[in-house]
Amino acid sequence: MSTPPLSVTPQPSDVQSLKSVNFISGSDSTIRRRLFLSRVFAWCCRIATYSALAALVALLASIIVNCLGRLNLSFITSVNSVDPAEAGILAGLWGSFWLISLTTLMSVPLGIGSAVYLEEYAKDTWLTRVIKVNLSNLAGVPSIVYGMLGLTVFVRMFDLFGSSAAKSKAINLLGIVKIPLPLGDIILAGALTMTLVILPIIIIASQEALRAVPSSIRTASLALGATRWQTIRHQVLPAAMPGISTGVILAVSRAIGDTAPLIMIGALTVARFCPAGIDSPVKLLTEPQRILQAPMDQFTAMPIEIFHWAKQPGDDFSPVAASGIVVLLLVLSVFNGFAVWIRYRTSRGLKW
């Protein structure tokens, strides 16, 4: 066939002469400069990223170096003292234990309940929208502001029952427990405050977990004649549980380390006693009636004691503060290890 190479012969001016290019790298000086810039930029980003790691290492190192020589078993078996060699974190440990247990007891049902309502029940009404917008705003409120709320509402109860120092009135429960009115600076008040602090975190995490459950599960259950609550209780919640528990653990870890709201409600900074006198796990079994009394006792918490030691003038107390931090971080890593374990376990099991 003797057809011309192109059916439409282009005008000569249209045809760009093919300029030859050397594709081997380094042949073009502009590109060499650009690639260099790109490499420099990559290194800057890498340095930025690894400086976070460096900060973490420096932080842990400075704490470990400071705690050496002070952290020993007696540190977690004795209460605070004016002598840095004798000060221990036992009171804070038990205070945090009660505080966090109560906080968890209150915040988990409330948080999951809210999330279930918002994800499974709520229609798209103005109220639902207000709740949802409000939640994301609450999550950004500084925890010290919650402290003011706790101080006024729980500790002083708007002064409706007179001054908190008097503790004149009380509700008597089963003859064992007296709930003072107003609450005053007791564990219960701290736990109520802390519940409000972490509630938005739990709700938002649980909402995400519930949203990740495919709606086919709900449809299938409902198709079998289950009621809405049965469907949620037996199908949706179990499926969402890994995500919810991870969120709960992260929220509770935040509560363990949060200090400002507790200080605002007037938790003790120096306490030489454990709540309700329970200073060892054995007493939980031998004197169970004290378990109900502990929430009504005054308290301190681990981060408050650390704060107190850290701001002592001079270096006498810095090993004590560092030791306290090590104990606090150990507790936190146990919690977070648990969260990682749940994530790991479920990543191999349930998969949609």
């Binding site: 057809t3 790298s25 590109i31």
Partner: protein, 293 residues
């Protein structure tokens, strides 16, 4: 209807249909500027692929592909989904380098240089081998900034030069008349077909010699599709174009040469008329006549 289409056919096409003994498909008219009976051997090669094998991890997706793309022509790559045509296209400007765990053997010669060599500068390569994607991908910037992106990253700062370049590229992409009064507006506001022509203009702005098109019209309405096809016909006077398409009508309309891929193998390649009227392979015929795919 058939007679109407017949009248649209070029004499060459009518000749092809008359002379080919086994016409398996009624070939629609070619767009202006495309000769579907082109004799490839007469043309200098723009791209020569030899013995190409491609792997995603352990999974081989291209087997010993040999293909020559002539200069200033349109080569269509057709075949069922997953046949490796897009993978092949993306090796031509080494876009597959961006995907982790891929490996390629064999050679691709452009201007006599094997661009698969590790020493090849992919930035330079991609400037000379432009690409247009299935989904239009305007950057969330103004129309002007979109077209000027390539020259700008390459270091061009002169506003007047950029303005000239933007105008000429938009004209080449047949978009200038529609957007000349709103170059500062966001490219996201353009219609789908306009966005795709903008992407072509943007690719032209780096002054490439080869344009790769990965199903450039598959997301567009028929009117926009036909504009893109006409554009391809115009552009092939100056650029070497390789186009992947699912649409066989489109392949037959816009290409000089067609290559049929199946399960990672290049089954057959030849002048478009020949592939669509008298394919030499049974597989090609089955695919073209719609027995599978």
């Amino acid at each position: 209807m058939v007679t109407f289409i017949e009248t649209l056919r070029s004499p060459i096409e009518r000749k092809a249909m008359a002379t080919s003994p086994t016409t398996v498909l009624r070939v629609p008219p070619a767009v202006a500027g495309v000769d579907r009976d082109m004799d490839m051997s007469q043309h200098p090669a723009a791209i020569t692929a030899r013995g190409m094998n491609f792997y995603y991890g352990e999974n081989q997706v291209l087997f010993d592909v040999n293909l020559t793309v002539p200069e200033r022509s349109v080569t269509a790559l057709i075949g069922p989904s997953g046949c490796g045509k897009s993978t092949f296209l993306r090796t031509l400007n080494r876009m597959n380098d961006l995907i982790e765990g891929t490996r390629c053997t064999g050679e691709v010669l452009i201007q006599g240089q094997n661009i698969m060599e590790p020493a090849v500068d992919v930035v330079l390569l991609r400037k000379h081998v432009g690409m247009v994607f299935q989904k239009s991908t305007p950057f969330p910037k103004s129309i002007f900034d979109n077209v000027a992106y390539g020259p700008r990253v390459a270091g061009e700062r002169n506003r007047a030069i950029l303005a000239d370049l933007v105008e000429s590229c938009l004209q080449k992409a047949a978009l200038w008349e529609e957007v000349k009064d709103r170059l500062g507006e966001s490219a996201m506001a353009l219609s789908g077909g306009q966005q795709q022509r903008l992407c072509i203009a943007r690719a032209l702005a780096t002054n490439p010699q080869i344009l790769l098109m990965d199903e450039p019209a598959s997301a567009l309405d028929p009117a926009s599709t036909s504009r893109i096809e006409d554009l391809i016909g115009e552009l092939c006077a100056n650029y070497t174009i390789v186009i992947v398409t699912h649409n066989m009508q489109q392949a037959s309309r816009v290409s000089h040469q067609t290559a049929f891929f199946f399960e990672g193998n290049l089954v057959e390649v030849g002048p478009t008329t020949q592939i669509f009227t008298s394919p030499s392979q049974k597989k090609t015929e089955d695919y073209i006549t719609g027995r599978f795919g």
